[in-house]
């Protein structure tokens, strides 16, 4: 059972790495600016999921998966706290990813505006044609 869990986790991990590769291909090889932005969002989302996976932990016991980093009691006893620390996943990558998502959203919006402006001024979003423009 443990072997199977590890295998599934590794599939998840390697799919993320391949996703990074595919999205980088999209960013570099596709000529359309819109497709570049789509590939960039896939890339940043994959990086965020990878960061969250760093904070994941082994199951505390074979029957019980890790719990989210939220205490479910308003007045926990010290025994509750000890159990919580032994079962919860790492909250720090989640907080950093929250930051990264919001900044990524803002940057994406800005890129969309730039692309819209390029399209309005030049009538194309193909970087090969934008690069040939003069003046």
């Amino acid at each position: 059972m443990n072997e199977l869990n590890t295998f599934l986790f590794n599939i998840f991990l390697f799919s993320l790495f391949f996703n990074v590769g595919i999205s980088l291909y999209g960013i570099f090889a596709r000529p359309s600016l819109i497709k570049k932005i789509i590939a960039l969002t896939i890339f940043s989302d994959t990086a965020n999921v990878l960061a969250i996976v760093v904070g994941y932990r082994e199951w505390p016991s074979p029957e019980q998966p890790p719990i989210p980093p939220v205490i479910t009691k308003v007045e926990p006893s010290s025994e509750d706290l000890r159990q919580f620390v032994n079962q919860a996943v790492d909250p720090l990558p989640q907080a950093l990813v929250l930051t990264a998502i919001v900044i990524g959203l803002a940057v994406t919006l800005f890129l969309v505006f730039l692309t819209l402006q390029v399209y309005r001024l030049y009538g194309t979003t193909d970087v090969r044609r934008v690069a040939k423009l003069r003046g």
Partner: protein, 277 residues
């Protein structure tokens, strides 16, 4: 072409499965994944996030992620908010001179266009629900997963739906236009900075020691925000940060969505300088 794509896809899947199998059986060296526990720093955060026995370190919030975002790593989030608003300022600068008032005057009918009556009625029913859910996400940010950013993004979905299903003129005629959103965003930002500085201001008035971004009272700095108000946990400054961030993010995103949905001909005529008075 189709066969080639399927071949690429199939070989990628086979490669992933083989690599995972090899990794699981130790062919690439043995690494215990996932890690058996969390790092020392993480367990310290988890241990002190709601811990009345450690008044020096606790945030008094059961949600460790929000505690990190707005207290342990609060300055990071402050500058992140600054980056977010710089991006919105950049979008505003690109669209400078494009006035929404003239869009409303030139566009004419607010009830023209949009999707079918079924979509419109469903949107009328859904929009208040979306706002209510987003407010609940933001106001419970210190108790359950969620917070100001998530709530604000969810709230911005409501005007986006109206933009797509009705039209930009309908949204403008309802009073959701550029200037009120700018005011909402600025008010949210001012609230965030005031909440960050309130302990220092109180310290200056009373002559006691206090810090920027202080949440709970410390032994060396006895000024802090209350963890509970009439037996309801508000976790000091976290509640106020979440509320103001909610307003700021919802206003900022709605502003950008409105700017993005200005009709193409009108924006072009402004850029090419035809509509300058």
């Amino acid at each position: 072409m189709r066969v080639k794509r399927l071949l690429v896809l199939g070989s990628l899947i086979v490669l992933v499965l083989t690599l995972s199998l090899a990794f699981t059986n130790g062919a690439l060296g043995y690494y215990p994944l996932p890690l058996p526990g969390v790092r020392l720093l993480a367990s310290w955060y988890l241990y002190t996030t709601l811990n009345p026995w450690y008044p020096m370190f606790t945030v008094m919030s059961p949600e460790a992620v929000t505690a990190i975002v707005w207290d342990y790593r609060g300055l990071d989030t402050l500058f992140e908010t600054a980056v977010f608003f710089l991006a919105i300022v950049g979008a505003l600068a690109l669209m400078r001179g494009v006035s929404l008032k003239s869009v409303l005057n030139n566009g004419g009918d607010k009830d023209k266009g949009g999707l079918s009556l079924i979509c419109k009625t469903a949107t009328r029913l859904l929009t208040p629900l979306i706002i209510a859910v987003s407010a609940s996400i933001a106001l419970h940010g210190h108790l359950t997963p969620g917070g100001g950013f998530q709530g604000g993004s969810a709230a911005a979905v409501a005007p986006l739906l109206v933009l797509v299903i009705f039209s930009v003129y309908f949204l403008l005629s309802k009073g959701v236009s550029e200037k009120p959103m700018l005011i909402l965003r600025t008010a949210g930002l001012l609230g965030i900075y005031l909440t960050a500085l309130v302990a220092v201001l109180a310290g200056l008035l009373t002559g006691l020691n206090a810090y920027v971004f202080q949440n709970q009272p410390k032994s060396s700095a006895p000024i802090g925000l209350p963890a509970q108000v009439s037996n309801t946990l508000i976790s000091g400054s976290l509640f106020f940060f979440n509320v103001f961030e909610y307003l700021a993010v919802a206003g900022g995103f709605t502003l950008v969505f409105i700017l993005l949905s200005i009709p193409e001909e009108i924006a072009k005529s402004f850029i090419s300088g035809e509509s300058h008075e």
